[in-house]
């Protein structure tokens, strides 16, 4: 991934500050390969949108350089960058029809009228809005507006498409549908996409790789599965998916694994040594809810018990909130196999494999 010749977009030592006092982006180094779908994921204020705006040319990096196709682009104005963008609220021009919105980027490029017409129709067909050219944006539903914005960002065949939380304004069903649609369009035309969102499931669904932002720093850049299964720090573990945490102190280090004594004298836990180095260090253990088993046979290497605080019936599974080792937010997902007959207040026996517990920073 560090191979410069391979990367299509390259952020090199980017710092960004608006007021000279606070860095919103700190030492960002990011390489994006051609045709890749990369998502910048993070809570609001983590610097992901700023990063996108620097790439689009609406913000200037305070330090460092961005390369597009090996050429530095900091001095190129936004209108010459040939980068398409889907804005958060679509930014469709309300005084133009859908077709006029789509022909706008082509007209300013002085493309001939028949070509414009053909390209606009092709782009509209691509987003399945072939008959909507004469409508005004206000006459379209949110999802349709979203597609028009997407078509407009693609119609002039940009080198790269940026999307700034494009699905944020849609309802849940439509959002999921659009996620697949965007993904399919990406697969079909093979364009490089940089996508910004704060919705982790959206990021997991669509991306080739995800850069998790927090506090202006990329916490982890990886494929969705690695990000979920092998988070490298406690922020990523907490931000991606559901996560149970137990705090403790490292007592023993043994190659790639370690033993952690839980705070409050609840016992010892065997875990993978990820983000801790030496004995005596404080650590946060991370266990995914689905990796905890309530099998009483207790085959795992870590055996504990917890009191049921709350049971929520969710159809395909039952979500149990337990009090385990002093953490009363400990979630376990019990598959609904018809055999679960515990009540709130009952004690449950829990176990998990030591490979599923990751000792991270605190």
């Amino acid at each position: 991934m560090n191979d410069t010749s391979q990367s299509f977009v390259k952020f090199e030592k980017i710092d960004k500050s608006y007021d000279g006092e606070v860095l919103v982006v700190k030492n960002l180094n990011l390489d994006i390969a051609k045709g890749e779908f990369v998502t910048m994921l993070g809570p609001s204020g983590s610097g992901k949108t700023t990063t996108l705006m620097m790439l689009a040319g609406f913000e200037t990096p305070t330090n460092g350089e961005i390369f597009l196709d090996t050429k530095p682009i900091s001095k190129i104005p936004p209108y010459e960058r040939e980068i398409g963008m889907v804005f958060q609220n679509y930014a469709l021009f309300p005084h133009m029809t859908v077709a006029e919105n789509l022909s706008f980027p082509l007209e300013v490029r002085k493309i001939s009228k028949p070509d414009i017409k053909e390209k606009v129709q092709k782009a509209l067909d691509m987003v399945e809005l072939g008959n909507f050219g004469t409508r005004f944006p206000a006459q379209l539903s949110g999802g349709q507006q979203q597609r028009v914005a997407l078509a407009r960002a693609l119609v002039f065949e940009p080198r790269l498409v940026l999307m700034d939380e494009p699905l944020g304004a849609l309802d849940k069903n439509l959002r999921e549908q659009m996620q697949y649609e965007i993904k399919h369009i990406h697969d079909r035309i093979g364009i490089t996409v940089v996508y910004v969102t704060h919705d982790q499931s959206e990021a997991l669904t669509m991306s080739n790789r995800i850069a998790v932002f927090n506090d202006g720093i990329v916490q982890q850049l990886s494929t969705p599965d690695i990000l979920y299964e092998k988070p490298e720090n406690s922020f990523v573990a907490k931000f991606i998916g559901e996560n149970n945490t137990l705090n403790g102190v490292v007592r023993e280090v043994n190659g790639s694994s370690c033993t952690v004594e839980l705070d409050g004298g609840f016992g010892m836990v065997k875990a993978l040594k990820i983000n801790v180095n030496e004995v005596g260090e404080k650590t946060q253990l991370s266990i995914r809810p689905e990796r905890v088993s309530i099998d009483n046979s207790a085959s795992g290497s870590n055996n504990f018990s917890g009191k049921i605080e709350e049971l929520i019936y969710l159809g395909d599974h039952i979500r149990a909130r337990l009090d385990v080792c002093g953490n009363n937010e400990f979630i376990v997902k019990v598959p609904n196999e018809g055999s679960f007959n515990h009540k709130e207040g009952d004690e449950l026996k829990l176990s998990w494999n030591s490979e599923d517990v990751r000792a991270l920073d605190l």
Binding site: P78, Y79, M85, A91, F104, P105, V108, R109, F156
Partner: protein, 425 residues
């Protein structure tokens, strides 16, 4: 239970027709809503509808003179102008008695009206009335009323005076409207231009239009960037700027206008600075006030907020992402502005333009004070006739024409932009 089919009347659960029940339920709310707005309706009716109605009636009203000389006018209608040079004896006779017995104040009013038709009437009738009263006092009955009149003053033998009656014999008259357009009736009742020295309204109307259009254009040119700044600056600065925009509203119009006189006059601040800078010589001081230039400058400044505020309210809701999106799509900033931003401000431009134009066309105080002789607008004439000549009919006609012009502009605006698009704040 049977489900009612669509043709049957819908009933409520209790069997009352649904529409009736709905009306009953809504009646109270409607009544309450009406009572709430009633004082306002009354206020609008008393202060707006009635005065305007009165003005419109007054602009065509000619009934006062008809009530003073009813018999004379009746007889006058029998005069065959082709056959006789002067009206028949009966006309003179009726006029004799109506002058002798009429109410002095009413006749005085009527004389003013007669003087609009032909100057000279007032003194002629006044002299004649004095003589007639003497004759009546002596108790003599004239043999020929016509000769008596002509003996009193030989102008009574001049048919042009009699012809001018023609335009007064009806209860309704369009004379004031024609007067307001520098026209009058000739002896045959045809519309002709006024004497050259009495033509001033057309000139003033044209100047009013010219000044209003210029003021609107200048307000737009000056107001657009300010509104844009207001809409796009961080709140801290835009609030401060907004205070500067609104500050004139908190200052008396008179103060602002006199301030402009201080600024612009030949010994004023601007000329002083220019002389001090050496741009102009001391005897080359520029005349910037008491003429059209002064009117333009002062009115532009005074009406500027009325352009800025509607523009601001429109610009504030144009997302900043639109300009970004346009540039992202490959448009240079100028193109992006012209094709994406500017079209979206049209409702604001037109609302501000309409507001400024309509206010400017009827503006009075500022042009009156800084306009001098050749910077006066039509409003000054209305005030002049209202206060000085008391020709309220002409005032009403001028006002009605002004109202008509505004309505035409409103109609045009609605045709072109659509009144639903107006945004005033």
């Amino acid at each position: 239970m049977e489900v009612p089919i669509s043709t049957a009347e819908l009933l409520t659960t209790d069997g009352i027709p649904l529409k009736q029940s709905l009306r009953k339920a809504e009646r109270r709310n409607k009544l309450r809503a009406f009572l709430l707005v009633f004082p306002l309706l009354l206020f609008i009716f008393v202060t707006f509808v009635m005065p305007i109605g009165d003005m419109l009636l007054r602009s065509v009203d000619d009934s006062q003179i008809n009530s003073v000389f009813p018999n004379t006018f009746d007889e006058y209608k029998n005069w065959d102008k082709g056959a006789d040079e002067l009206p028949p004896e009966e006309v003179y006779k009726s006029l004799f008695f109506e002058l002798a017995n009429g109410d002095k104040r009413q006749i005085g009013k009527a004389l003013t009206r007669m003087n609009y038709a032909k100057s000279g009437w007032k003194s002629l009738i006044k002299k004649t009335t004095r003589e007639i009263k003497k004759i009546v006092k002596k108790g003599e009955e004239p043999v020929s009323y016509k000769d008596t009149f002509i003996n009193i003053n030989k102008l009574w033998a001049d048919p042009t005076y009699w012809y001018s009656f023609n335009q007064m014999v009806k209860d309704r008259s369009s004379i004031y409207y024609w007067n307001a357009l520098d026209r009058t009736f000739d002896e045959d009742g045809d519309v002709v231009l006024q004497d050259e020295k009495r033509r001033m309204y057309i000139k003033t109307w044209l100047r009013t239009f010219k000044v209003s259009i210029y003021v609107t254009i200048f307000c737009l040119i000056l107001g657009f960037p300010v509104a844009h700044l207001l809409a796009n600056l961080p709140l801290r600065y835009s609030n401060l700027l907004m205070i500067f925009v609104l500050l004139p509203f908190w200052t008396s119009l008179l103060v602002r206008t006199t301030a402009w006189i201080v600024m612009l006059q030949q010994n004023g601040v601007i000329n002083g600075i220019l002389v001090w800078l050496g741009v102009i010589s001391d005897d080359g001081r520029i005349q910037m006030v008491y003429n059209e230039v002064g009117t333009l400058i002062a009115m532009t400044q005074i009406l500027l907020p009325f352009m800025i505020l509607p523009l601001y309210s429109v610009m504030r809701v144009i997302p900043k992402s639109h300009m970004r999106a346009a540039q992202n799509l490959g448009a240079k900033p100028v193109t992006a502005f012209l094709r994406v931003y500017l079209p979206q401000t049209i409702p604001g431009i037109s609302a501000g333009g309409l507001l400024v134009f309509v206010l400017a066309i009827g503006y009075f105080i500022t042009p009156e004070l800084v306009g001098g002789k050749d910077g006066k607008l039509i409003g000054s004439w209305i005030a002049y006739h209202l206060k000085t000549t008391l020709n309220w009919g002409l005032c009403a006609a001028l006002g009605a024409i002004l109202l008509g012009i505004m309505l035409i502009f409103y109609w045009l605006y609605n045709k072109i932009v659509g009144i639903d698009n107006i945004k005033l704040g």
